[in-house]
């Protein structure tokens, strides 16, 4: 077995160099991780040298070091945000007690489940995105994709560290299983539905990073409040990386819109077929992709009423988004929250105990954040003088999980019959023709500074580099 130089190869601030037990566990796991990367990581990229950001420490100077590296040699590190020795639990039944450095026995199973579920999404998205490098619309975009891929890899390391360090043998087995499940595998799929969907093209990728990685942001934010201090500090640091993923999504869709608006203005048309014929993605298709990714993603927050959510909160395992900035009692007993239910085929609002509705609370925070970004997309259209606006579909649209799963709903919030749903579906969700059209645009553009015809160049490059910088060197 190869020995690892821990400070060099695995940058960390968890004293890995002196922790023999942890070293042995990671030495067993690391070769399997590399095999996994080689097997299902970015396709055909072994010899590429990519201009990547690597975290080598958690201070502002150390956490964003840029340079060309081969992804296989990326230094996946293990980092906890700087800690506070006096940190107290600030919500739930243990409020006011000291944060836990080790896991209390009674919470072990739940915490393991939380960490495994979070950890499972990280390699899943790498698998979902593995072929996208072959159709990158530019070198700049290819680099951004690979940056996301290696950071999802690092997030897997972060979760595996917690499993190895705090869960003994069970943890090691769970860490192995994270490399064995595979996105879309019928026999051994990833845990959550959205992570078994395909990411077939770059528009889907941008929508995924905008919406689905934003689910990641909210889940990580809720875990960053956890009473289990190592989990809180790990996820806090992951959030700084997650921001880049949402940037890729938000700016990616913005650039698609900018290009489409330019074509519409050039041809003086809003006819989808003419826009398509000119090689741009019509706004209707963009809206349908948005509807799909949004609805699939809000399912990720789970059932609207959940006793697990209540348990996780009261026992201090998982807080709310920005728990520390909220001004209620942080215990929530006796408080209520409004959720939607289907009653006689119609949607009704209903007050339920807030503790049971915490999935819904987090979902609503996500929705607010998502809508703000869609507003910024609309500014791009507004600025270009295009009157069409994108909208976020109704919360009950196309839901598969929770109380709203049974209802047929139009994006604008009308309950519709099965017949109307069937008739209108093709206007609301991407059709096979939409996917085929978008796929037809996906060709590889890799000359520095050149961009595919369906997307505008970014306004600036990465790390103050010019847009036509050689972000990827092909070996």
């Amino acid at each position: 077995m190869s020995t690892i130089n821990y400070s060099e190869k695995i940058p960390n601030n968890v004293n890995l160099g002196e922790d023999r037990t942890l070293q042995r566990a990671l030495e067993g796991w690391q070769p399997n991780f590399i095999h996994w990367w080689d097997d299902v990581g970015p396709d055909n990229s072994t010899n590429y040298e990519v201009y990547l950001r690597t975290a080598v420490s958690v201070d502002p100077q150390g956490w964003a070091q840029f340079g060309h590296v081969k992804m296989r040699d990326y230094r996946w590190g293990i980092f906890l945000n700087p800690g506070d020795a006096n940190r107290e639990i600030h919500f739930g039944d243990h409020k006011g007690e000291k944060a836990w450095q080790d896991i209390p026995g009674e919470h072990r199973a739940n915490l393991r489940r939380i960490i495994v579920t979070q950890g499972d999404t990280e390699p899943a998205s790498v698998e979902q995105q593995r072929h996208l490098g072959l159709t990158a619309p530019s070198m700049y975009d290819m680099r951004n994709l690979f940056q996301i891929n290696v950071e999802e890899g690092r997030h897997l390391w972060a979760m595996v560290y917690l499993l190895h360090k705090h869960f003994g043998r069970d943890g090691r087995e769970e860490a192995e299983a994270l490399l064995q499940r595979q996105s879309g595998d019928v026999d051994n799929p990833r845990i959550l539905g959205a992570f078994n969907e395909k990411t077939p093209d770059w528009l889907a990728f941008f929508m995924f990073t905008y919406f689905t990685d934003r689910d990641g942001k909210f889940q990580l934010s809720a875990l960053a409040e956890s009473a289990f201090d190592p989990l809180a500090r790990t996820t806090k640091f992951m959030l700084t990386e997650e921001a880049h993923h949402m940037f890729v999504g938000e700016s990616g869709v913005s650039r698609v819109l900018a290009r489409t608006a330019a074509v519409m203005n050039e041809l003086k048309t809003d006819d989808a077929q003419k826009v398509r014929a000119a090689g741009a993605i019509d706004l209707g298709t963009v809206q349908r992709y948005l509807n799909f990714h949004y609805s699939v993603t809000i399912d990720l927050f789970g059932a609207d009423q959940s006793s697990n959510a209540a348990t996780f909160y009261s026992s201090g395992l998982k807080g709310r988004y920005e728990e520390g900035k909220r001004t209620d009692d942080h215990v929530l007993k006796g408080q209520t929250y409004k959720v939607l239910e289907v009653h006689n085929g119609q949607l009704v609002e209903k007050d339920v105990p807030m503790l049971n509705a915490l999935n819904e609370v987090l979902r609503d925070d996500f929705i607010k954040d998502s809508m703000a970004g869609v507003g910024r997309w609309n500014k791009v259209l507004e600025k270009a003088g295009v009157p069409t606006r994108l909208t976020v579909p109704h919360k009950a649209f196309n839901r598969q999980i929770g109380a709203l799963a049974g209802i047929k709903m139009s994006p604008d919030g009308r309950v519709v019959s099965e017949a109307e749903w069937a008739a209108q579906k093709a206007e609301w969700l991407p059709t096979p023709e939409d996917f085929a059209f978008v796929a037809s645009l996906m060709g590889r553009v890799v000359d520095p500074g050149k961009f595919a015809g369906w997307i505008a160049p970014p306004v600036m490059g990465i790390n103050r580099q010019p847009v036509d910088f050689e972000y990827v060197r092909f070996g």
Partner: protein, 425 residues
């Protein structure tokens, strides 16, 4: 140097609302709490931002890296920034000069205060001294720790000394403060700074933000072997226009008694660091309390002197103040051996004497400076008021040019190799 003249213009740090994705990374990263947000925008408080650049590389979008030259009194407030949908354009030179005259009652506008932005102005560029300042440390610098403590987890230090180090009874007081950190880790290197948070709240009821001070002691402490450091703090009694004002932090610090506890954040700075290899030369150019890092570097070399390791390395100091009485550490400096350090004082207000500025002294020493400019082991450090920076860098350029050297090459190398450091305020 004239201590009363100060910048009327700042380079204000702003975030581009069209590119920003509101991810909160900058706000979470900022070591001094200068960044905040509402539902619309992320914004930077001009009076708190110290251009430490900690937020720049973590920003995923690049929207963080925007700078506008504005008159200090017209700096964009955060309330204004909250309403923006796009960045305002740069003020035209006409607007600036008009505003500059309004703002400083006839005083010409000085160079922008923050030097960190890339110069994007089109057309012919005026001499931009800041462009020569390095952002990397010398190769032989020790590894610095930075941002161990922020406003949310400040550490506590105890005052173990507070001396007025200007001549007794003289109105402009400079204090030498010694802080002890007890058992809390607070490793610093010469050239780094720390932040002190004054207790209480400001007029708006918000807690005071931290003020930054350069460390004046070497890495092993003011008192070697103890967990302590020293600062040089000038009591602020008038504002940039010369109107009487009581500086909140400087008066707080100057009035501290031995045994008092202070809230400290930092350390800050990872590039203004001294070289540590034998035969490395250090040229130090400073005014007033800008002497703090120079004292730290000088003292570290003095402590190492008996090792003999640095015999081949020269120390040269250009030190400006209005008068000898205002010069911190004048006495101790005088007693350093001449073969250890080459000291050049410049007094701009000595009675009966013509005004002398540090750049005048530098030009007088052109022959020696030219030799040092040629030598790849030479390192230049400039610290003091912003208004000195351009004059000092221009003097270096002229010394080089007159010696037949190519300043463009030398200047570029000094920056690239971390051998010219500018810290002005």
């Amino acid at each position: 140097m004239d201590m009363a003249v100060d910048a009327g213009v700042i380079k204000q740090h702003l975030i581009d609302p069209e590119i920003c994705i509101r991810c909160n990374t900058c706000e979470a990263t900022c070591p001094v709490g200068a960044i905040t947000h509402d539902d619309n925008n992320y914004v930077v408080r001009a009076d708190v931002c110290n251009a430490c650049m900690a937020c720049i590389s973590p920003c995923p979008t690049g929207s963080i890296d925007n700078w506008r030259t504005v008159p200090l009194v017209r700096a964009y407030s955060i309330e204004e920034q909250f309403t923006w949908e796009e960045l305002p354009s740069e003020l035209t030179p006409e607007q600036l000069s008009a505003a500059g005259i309004d703002a400083s009652q006839g005083l010409p506008a000085a160079e922008p205060v923050l030097a960190a932005s890339p110069d994007t102005a089109a057309g012919e560029a005026p001499f931009n001294s800041a462009a020569y300042g390095a952002t990397v440390p010398p190769w032989s610098a020790a590894r610095a720790f930075a941002n161990l403590y922020g406003p949310k987890n400040a550490t506590t230090a105890t005052v173990v000394g507070n001396f007025n180090c200007t001549e007794a009874g003289f109105e402009n007081q400079t204090h030498h403060i010694v802080l002890d950190f007890g058992s809390m880790p607070f490793p610093v290197l010469e050239g780094q700074s720390i932040g002190i948070i004054p207790p209480g709240v400001d007029a708006a009821g918000k807690p005071h933000h931290a003020r930054q001070y350069s460390v004046a002691s070497p890495r092993n402490g003011e008192r070697p072997g103890y967990n302590n450091l020293s600062l040089t703090v000038k009591r602020v009694t008038q504002d940039h226009q010369g109107k009487p004002v009581r500086g909140v932090a400087s008066n707080y610090v100057c009035d501290l008694k031995v045994g008092d506890k202070v809230q400290v954040i930092g350390p800050f700075g990872v590039s203004f660091l001294m070289p540590n290899h034998p035969r490395s030369h250090i040229v130090m150019i400073c005014t007033g309390t800008g002497s703090a890092p120079m004292r730290a570097m000088t003292e570290w070399r003095r402590r190492l002197r008996k090792t003999g390791k640095f015999e081949g390395g020269k120390l040269m100091l250009f030190f400006g103040a209005r008068t000898q009485q205002e010069l911190p550490y004048f006495g101790p400096l005088q007693s350093l051996p001449k073969d250890f350090i080459d000291i050049n004082f410049a007094f701009s207000r000595a009675p009966g004497q013509p005004k002398h500025y540090v750049q005048d002294r530098m030009r007088e020493r052109a022959a020696d400076l030219a030799l040092l400019l040629k030598d790849p082991h030479s390192h230049f450090y400039v610290c003091g008021l912003k208004s000195m920076e351009e004059g000092v860098v221009l003097a270096l350029r002229d010394v080089a040019t007159e010696a037949g050297l190519d300043w463009d090459t030398i200047g570029a190398n000094l920056k690239l190799e971390g051998r010219l450091h500018l810290e002005t305020y």
